[in-house]
Amino acid sequence: MVEAARSETEAGMRTMTMVQAIHDALDLALERDPQVLLFGEDVGMGGVFRVSDGLREAHGERRVFDTPLAEAGIVGYGIGLALAGMRPIAEIQFAGFLYPALDQILSHLGRYRHRTRGRFTVPMVIRAPYGGGVHTPEQHADSPEAILAHVPGVKVVIPSSPERAKGLLLAAIEDPDPVFFLESIKLYRSVKAEVPEGHYRLELGRARVVREGNAATLVAYGGMVEVCVKAAEVAAREGVELEVIDLETLTPFDAETVLASVEKTGRAVVVYEARKIGGFGAEVAARIAEDAIWSLQAPVLRVAGWDAPYPPFSAIEHHYRPDARRVLEAVRQVLAA
């Protein structure tokens, strides 16, 4: 489902990983708009995940460059660039390294249009790899999306596939307001898919139905979408058709798509890999309770990270991140109700 603003020439398809698709989007953005800049720690040599490989060589070291090792600096510097006419794309090496920049994010990033009544805006993208599942060292596997989604004036986008990542990233870069773009580390190279060549944009602020079904609704985003799809495939073998919704954009939240599905199925399980309490899935569940409670046949359940930090203990870390088995357990519970 690739709609919206396809480029002038009808492009072919190419098989890409998520890393390649994101690289492709960055390459196109730098090519199309001279105001676009790409920077961050180690971005010049390609970044620790090689997402920006070759972009400095292709677009020059003036536009693709390294920063000092200072996240508040990266975000604050980017805000200044954006205020004065540039289109900065900042990479934070890992989402768990974003915390030094929280003052800039909470105090300024999403506030500028509001406090200057539209005189100044911050059309900036902050990309960061997030999430667990690949035995990274401590602090490298955090999922801080709920912290970011709680900030007024910023959008939070989390793609679940190479094709979605490319189109959503191009839309984020061309968006007039600040956008966080979180990239699941688990999905970076584990998934290969057909991705349209050339420029295309996917609309921000829209959830999408990944798989249709009538028995219950699974709501997820980013790395949890494939987990939910896997769970749905298992359930389908037993004749249970689950509907899977990929939020894609957390804020602005597309409640309409979620509610329409829950009104149809009467059952919902929300899946996310951050800590359960106060996670973004809590917002989803609350919205369902507010606006669709009369359609519910069962309590809304959440499958999420436990009440603990993401564990740095590689032998047992897979117990933290939700998997298809845990999702199916919750599904059985809502179906039994």
């Binding site: 508040a72 200044g80 660039l81 540039m86 300024h108 409640a255």
Partner: protein
């Protein structure tokens, strides 16, 4: 490092002044205008016609001197205490009143004005100034950014990161520290071990200059040189202006709780406005007649500004959810309808 000074503290002696008499008069007028605004703003606040207001009395030379060094296309990225600098760089008085009255109309500055809104989160503005400065280079513009901060603000991490970014990228930015001796109630001696803030520039490989912050000519001259250096591609400069906050931290603060009247009285003798007035008098470039004419002009400007501010429309509740994103979210749209109904 001794602070750069051209005019003696009592205004009696002026050596090697690098300014023409006309420039000095222009600088004096701008400084008096800043003070005129500040004193009347405090009065408005006491009358309940302004919100919480951070006065800058005593720091006019530091603020105005630095702002005078800017060209109209240059940017000012000010801390909350820098209304004086903003006025000197073109912020209309009526706009400043509406800003501190916390009225939405006051928060949208004129489109051609290169002044960012006042910053409350300490030191965060410095990084923005570095970005704004660099943005000019990416667009082949030769603008420079001036950003201002107090002595307390230099303790923040963003101060360090901004200086480092500015230095590494050789950004055309001038960083002015108004060292006014106090961070609310904490004296500079409890804020830092090395009392010479300008010395820190060496740690970043950039020039650091300390000036008598109550000598308009010293601040103006150092800023003019720093702006020129920035424009010529030679990178950032850190300027420390040694000055004193004569009034409270804000209209809600009582400085008698933490500092003696004596320390403030000592600084009264170094008042920046009186100092330049005395020096201009000695040069026969200024007299009571001109002073009276100027005050009459300022009174007129002030009264017109207050009138204009008073005539600004009252904000509507739904303005709360406007201007969050370019396109309103579904949730904000719902809120907008609720708020509009009242």
């Amino acid at each position: 490092m001794e602070p750069l000074r051209f005019i003696a503290e009592d205004g009696g002696r002026a050596d090697r002044l690098p300014f023409s008499v006309d420039e000095l008069v222009r600088g004096y007028r701008a400084m008096v205008r800043a003070r005129f605004f500040d004193e009347r703003a405090m009065t408005l606040q006491r009358q309940g016609r302004l919100g919480v207001y951070p006065p800058y009395k005593g720091q006019e030379a530091a603020q105005v001197g630095a702002a005078l060094a800017l060209a109209p296309d240059d940017w000012l990225v000010p801390s909350y205490r820098d209304t004086g600098a903003a006025l000197a760089h073109g912020l209309p008085m009526s706009q400043a009143i509406l800003y501190w009255r916390a009225t939405p109309a006051g928060w949208r500055y004129p489109d051609d004005l290169r002044v960012l809104p006042f910053y409350i989160p300490i030191a965060t503005q410095l990084l923005h100034a570095v970005g704004v400065a660099s943005a000019g280079r990416f667009q082949d513009e030769d603008w420079v950014a001036l950003t201002t901060i107090g002595d307390g603000g230099t303790s923040e991490g963003d101060f360090h990161e901004a200086l480092n970014f500015a230095a590494v990228y050789s950004a055309p930015v001038v960083l002015l520290v108004e060292n006014n001796g106090w961070a609310i109630s904490v004296p500079t001696s409890k804020q830092m071990r090395n009392p010479r803030i300008a010395d820190r520039a060496a740690g970043y490989g950039i020039p650091g200059v300390v000036v008598d912050g109550n000598d308009l000519t010293a601040v103006w001259h150092a800023s003019r040189e720093a702006v020129q250096r920035a424009r010529d591609g030679e990178g950032p400069t850190l300027i420390e202006a040694v000055t004193y906050r004569m009034g409270p931290h804000t209209s809600s603060d009582d400085p008698n709780r933490y500092r003696s009247a004596d320390s403030t009285a000592a600084w009264e003798a170094r008042d920046p406005v009186a100092r330049l007035r005395t020096a201009l008098g000695a040069m026969e470039a200024w007299d009571d007649e001109r002073e009276e004419a100027m005050v009459a002009e300022l009174t007129e400007e002030w009264q017109a500004a207050v009138r204009e501010a008073d005539e600004a429309p009252e904000p509507e509740p739904q303005e709360i959810v406007e201007q969050v994103f370019e396109t309103m979210t579904p949730d904000a749209r719902t809120a907008w309808e609720v708020l509009r109904r009242g």
